[in-house]
């Protein structure tokens, strides 16, 4: 089936079988291997990406469902000049990763939530829900919570 998907502001015209999972198409057809696959059951969260602005598990979506839609992966976070995204700076500053396997998923889950509502960072319960939405075997989650809170503080606010 022929589909057109915008991934990180670049248009991809792909021919995919309906049974192909979004995560696999991003990695194998688009060459964007920053999206990691852990459990492939929707549990671990490593594969989280943004689809039309909402954070979703890319292991539990079919690529054909994204026909005409927009996907953002961890490769689309940094600025055009390579400048790290506020979340990436915060994860580095707070040591919110060690092996880094789960990090793309946490970054995208947090990016989706903060882009929808930067006030998420002021609510410890919602930050905890984000930090608890994936599995990290290195950090113990506390640095991830701190990083999300820090990024929210440095989040670019619209000029008033």
């Amino acid at each position: 089936m022929r589909i057109t998907v915008r991934v990180n502001d670049r248009e991809y015209r792909l021919d995919v079988e309906p049974r192909r999972i979004l995560a696999d198409v991003l990695r194998e057809d688009c060459g964007l291997t920053g999206t990691h696959l852990g459990c492939e059951h929707g549990v671990c969260g490593a594969c989280t990406v943004l689809v039309d602005g909402a954070a979703v598990r890319s292991c539990l979506m079919l690529a054909v469902q994204c026909d005409g839609g927009a996907v953002r992966t961890v490769e689309g976070l940094a600025g055009r000049d390579g400048e790290p995204h506020p979340l990436q700076r915060a994860f580095s500053a707070e040591h919110a990763l060690q092996c880094g396997f789960c990090t793309p998923g946490f970054l995208m889950a947090a990016a989706g939530a903060l882009e929808a509502d930067p006030a998420v960072g002021e609510d410890p319960e919602r930050v905890a829900a984000l930090a608890g939405s994936g599995i990290c075997r290195c950090t113990g989650y506390e640095p991830i919570r701190r990083a999300i809170t820090r990024a929210a503080r440095e989040w670019p606010r619209p000029a008033t």
């Binding site: 089936m1 079988e17 309906p18 049974r19 192909r20 999972i21 696999d24 492939e40 059951h41 929707g42 549990v43 969260g45 989280t48 909402a54 954070a55 979703v56 598990r57 292991c59 539990l60 979506m61 079919l62 054909v64 469902q65 889950a109 989706g112 939530a113 829900a129 984000l130 608890g132 939405s133 994936g134 599995i135």
Partner: protein, 309 residues
């Protein structure tokens, strides 16, 4: 594993969707897909046709008409996270229940109607639907019909939906301001399904329970109303128990919990949760949900009085 091969159709109208479902092949509806795609990956589900309803306009509508809330088949779980998304005590009940469903990235895709149609034995929305007398709207090749939530669930993953039918929406009566809502569930870890979950509302008039509603999931082979416990609460004086997790033995909420556990629940044993354990969990969680409902009712009444001074 990867899903087995299937044909994919993305209808643009409810009618086209129903036609695709009734074409005589083994068809599955894809709404949020958070259960279906997992089952397809595990190859426990191997549909010949997947009918993706995400491009049918209008199914994502959430509306209030008079005293009734209508939730379309594509309204995602996360629509209910904001306290004001649904008015009154029903909104409170939804916002308490929704945060116990999986994780934010699952809640942004999964749908309430999909959970009801899937009929997972531990689904939080099923507890809410049976407690609140929800009505499901179905459309099939023979036309439209409605099924009350109380008669919709026939067993684990078994419902009154016929293979050619699409559940297009679910309706809930909106309770008044004299009602409070509570929700309690127990699970082993954050990543587990509920071992038992309880949705409860209490309607209080003149300090006495005028109506109690209690829905249980994973406490029987299907979602159940705790009718015996509800009857025992009628007319009881609402005295908030002292702070702390344990209710005093003779408290009406503790008694209702015991009755729900023995008379209403018919637990099915699971790994890590035998029948006795589940009955105990039902007793404790019903008590907690009722306490939360009573507190919610009290604070709602206080705001209500304050607003009219």
């Amino acid at each position: 594993m990867k899903p087995a091969a299937f044909d994919y159709v993305a209808p643009r109208t409810v009618r086209e969707a129903v036609e695709a479902l009734g074409a005589g092949r083994d068809a599955h509806v894809l709404a949020g897909g958070q259960s279906l795609i997992l089952e397809m990956r595990l190859r426990r589900a191997r549909p010949e046709v997947v009918v993706d309803i995400n491009r049918v306009p209008g199914l994502g509508r959430l509306s209030v008409d008079g005293g009734t809330l209508r939730v379309g088949a594509l309204v995602r779980h996360d629509a209910f996270e904001a306290a004001g998304a649904v008015p009154g005590p029903l909104g409170t009940l939804f916002s308490l229940a929704v945060v116990t469903i999986a994780h934010p990235p699952i809640r942004s895709r999964g749908t309430m109607v999909g959970s009801l149609a899937w009929g997972h034995p531990a689904s939080e929305w099923c507890a809410v639907a049976v407690a609140m007398d929800a009505v499901l709207e179905l459309r099939g090749s023979g036309g439209a019909r409605e099924v009350a939530a109380g008669g919709f669930f026939h067993g684990p993953f078994q419902t009154a939906r016929r293979p050619d039918e699409l559940v297009t929406a679910v309706r809930f009566p909106l309770p008044g301001a004299d009602t409070g809502a509570g929700f309690a569930e127990h699970r082993r870890t954050h990543f587990c399904f509920a071992q038992v979950a309880v949705a409860a509302t209490l309607t209080v008039r003149g300090g006495l329970v005028a109506e109690a509603r209690i829905g249980l999931v994973n406490a029987a082979d299907r979602p159940v109303r705790a009718r015996a416990a509800e009857r025992a609460l009628l007319g009881a004086e609402v005295v908030l128990p002292p702070a702390g997790h344990r209710l005093p033995g003779g408290h009406p909420f503790a008694r209702a919990g015991e009755i729900a556990a023995t008379a209403d629940a018919a637990p099915v044993a699971e790994p890590y949760a035998g029948v006795d354990y589940k009955r105990h969990a039902v007793a404790v969680l019903v008590g907690r949900a009722l306490r939360q409902a009573a507190e919610d009712q009290r604070s709602r009444a206080a705001v209500h009085r304050g607003g009219h001074r």
